[in-house]
């Protein structure tokens, strides 16, 4: 298979087209503009639709409309834009409409800056908008994984009839790496017999995101919850790397995951027994697997480009079996291999071996 050198944002866009995405609605925001720019010429080549919306609010509701017809549809943005999309995401989840949303996140809160950050973790995995719902959240850490997880995102969206967020960051979107576009291969999906396409000769259908009857709405919420439970059984994903019985188990997602790989490798040279646990699905979070891996270590160190958001899920998963420590940078500052190793040395002396 041919390897192509590609920027993360363009790789996501090409992967979406290859996954059958034929409609894209978006609004410019740095650092993800290459996704829109790429799709603005690529989608028309395959008979698809690229439309620049007047706002992220409009974009996500255009996605809602297109998803209602059963089409594969995507939007992308970054932190502040994803915040504006929360209304629509809540509606998409309530109406059980599949779609893919890419968040190449940046420093926050507020307008923040355009440097990479992971401070949208809570927003992504805890629902984000109002109501009892979750997004399926995937966290790639290389450009190749951006491609593979984009394929997977469209598959999971259709399998579960739920919006999927790909949570990247400005670094992943901007970096160039060699990628291979394999043909997406997934098990067959159920027919979209719910899609709104005009009633034809059959009975009419409707898609709504409201139910004024409390019992009816509770039923919907329980149905959504059952879906999330099934996700946890069937579609949890994570990667591990390094020593099978480490002194410290490092936990990080996305960009931090790739930095922690280097930490494990460099640490080995210094005689440290380290391992990496990298959640790939942030929702569903790989709770059970993380707990099992944590048990084999003496301590867990969570590293994030925020001030401890995934940390809460790690602590819930580990359930106090081993101590959990945290190192974080925020506001667009990227942690370095050197400083993480230094922190680990200190942790070993002061806490783990003390």
């Amino acid at each position: 298979m041919e390897k192509i050198l590609m920027r993360g944002n363009e790789a996501v866009a090409e992967a979406a087209v290859r996954a059958g995405c034929r409609l894209y609605f978006g609004y410019p925001i740095t650092p993800q503009n290459e996704i829109s720019e790429y799709l603005s010429f690529r989608l028309p080549q395959v008979g698809g639709v690229f439309l620049q919306a007047e706002s992220e609010v409009a974009a996500i509701h255009m996605v809602y409309g297109a998803a209602s017809t059963g089409a594969r549809v995507m939007t992308s943005s970054s932190g502040p834009g994803i915040s504006l999309m929360q209304e629509g995401l809540s509606c998409l989840a309530a109406a059980e409409l599949p779609c893919v949303v890419v968040n190449m996140s940046r420093g926050g809160p507020g307008v923040g800056n355009i440097q990479p950050a992971q401070s949208d973790y809570f927003q992504a995995v805890k629902g984000g908008g109002h109501g009892d719902y979750r997004l399926i959240v995937l966290a790639p850490s290389t450009v190749q994984e951006l491609v593979d997880l984009t394929y997977r995102a469209f598959y999971l969206a259709d399998k579960y009839r739920n919006p999927v967020e790909i949570l990247g960051d400005g670094m992943l979107g901007q970096m160039m790496e060699p990628v291979v576009f394999r043909d997406p291969e997934f098990p067959p999906l159920p027919p979209k017999d719910w899609a709104i396409r005009g009633k034809g000769n059959g009975p009419r259908k409707w898609i709504v995101c409201l139910d004024l009857d409390p019992k009816g709405l509770e039923e919907l919420n329980l149905k959504l919850w059952e879906k999330y439970r099934r996700l946890e059984e069937e579609d949890v994903d994570y990667a591990t790397f390094g020593c099978p019985e480490p002194e410290i188990l490092l936990v990080g997602f996305g960009t931090v995951g790739r930095i922690l790989r280097s930490v494990v490798r460099e640490g080995e040279k210094e005689g440290l027994k380290l391992a990496l646990f990298r959640p790939i699905t942030l929702f569903p979070f790989p709770k059970k697997a993380l707990r099992e891996h944590a048990r084999r270590a003496r301590a867990v160190l969570v590293v994030e480009m925020n001030l401890g958001q995934m940390l809460e899920d790690v602590e819930l998963a580990v359930q106090g079996e081993v101590p959990v420590f945290f190192l974080g940078h925020t506001g667009g500052v990227i942690p370095t291999v050197g400083e993480i190793l230094e922190y680990i040395h200190r942790l070993l002396v002061k806490e783990v071996r003390a």
């Binding site: 609010v57 809602y64 409309g65 297109a66 017809t69 109406a95 005009g198 409707w206 709504v208």
Partner: protein
């Protein structure tokens, strides 16, 4: 025996749930009549709003999508772009279309999106219990303007139809009322033209329908009809605001 009047096929056989004297039922019946006459029920998709207007999906027998408050034009855009050969219409109230959804309706008109929009203007937020709308008249008392709407405090009643007429992408804009048989006939003709504007791919079409809200105006149905004619029509004049023949969508 010749049938001269009957329930439109596309209007489902159940009683409207609107308040006495409300014109939503009339407006929806006219839309159903036109859908029947154009024989497009099988390929028509309606988009509902939030507010009293949302109940349209309970009464008109076509496929429907209902989303968030004010976003119907964006949702309709997504549907129309995915299925360009379907007839897509939206149905919104004045709070939905002229307050929270102003941005979406202006841009859908400016893009010349080939959809048909219906805008029921009753100068008040209905479903939430009668608060001030952008269309509330000067001096009009509502739940949030207990001393009447004052321009220096609350601004002016918004003429959305006129505003959308200046957008190059809008092809047909009309304002109608349903308070007299003559107006009802005119309204139906405007609704037909608004659908035809879409079918002939001329661009965006909107029909603004003035409607009384006796419940929130605190009037009887008859008083509300009189108030609409005496106070609303002078500020929101009836008629075709824009009729454009150019097929600008045929550029590519």
């Amino acid at each position: 025996m010749k049938v001269v009047f009957e329930r439109p096929k596309t209007l489902l056989e159940k009683p409207f749930t609107y308040c006495p004297g409300c014109h939503h039922g009339l407006a929806q019946r006219l839309i159903a009549e036109v859908i029947d006459e154009l024989n497009i029920a099988d390929r028509t998709i309606g988009v509902g709003p939030i507010g009293c207007s949302v109940y349209i999906y309970e009464f008109i027998d076509v496929d429907f999508v209902v989303g968030a408050h004010g976003r119907a034009p964006a949702i309709a855009t997504g549907i129309k772009r995915a299925l360009p050969d379907r007839v897509v219409f939206s149905y919104q109230g004045d709070g939905d279309i002229a307050a929270i959804g102003t941005s979406e309706i202006i841009h859908v008109a400016n893009r010349g999106e080939c959809i048909t929009a219906f805008f029921v203007n009753n100068a008040v937020f209905g479903m939430t219990g009668g608060q001030m709308a952008p269309t509330t008249l000067v001096g009009q008392r509502t739940k949030t303007t207990p001393f009447g709407r004052k321009p220096d405090m609350h601004g002016f009643p918004f003429r959305l139809g006129e505003c959308l007429s200046v957008a190059e992408g809008s092809a047909y804009i009309a304002r109608v009322a349903l308070t007299r048989p003559q107006f009802v006939r005119q309204a139906k003709e405007c609704i037909r033209k608004a659908f035809m504007t879409q079918i002939e791919r001329k661009g965006f079409a909107l029909v603004e329908i003035l409607s009384p809200c006796p419940t929130n105006w605190g009037m009887s149905p008859k008083e509300a009809v009189d108030w609409l004619e005496q106070h609303m029509i002078p500020h929101f004049p009836l008629g075709e605001l824009k009729v454009k023949e150019r097929l600008f969508h045929e550029t590519s």
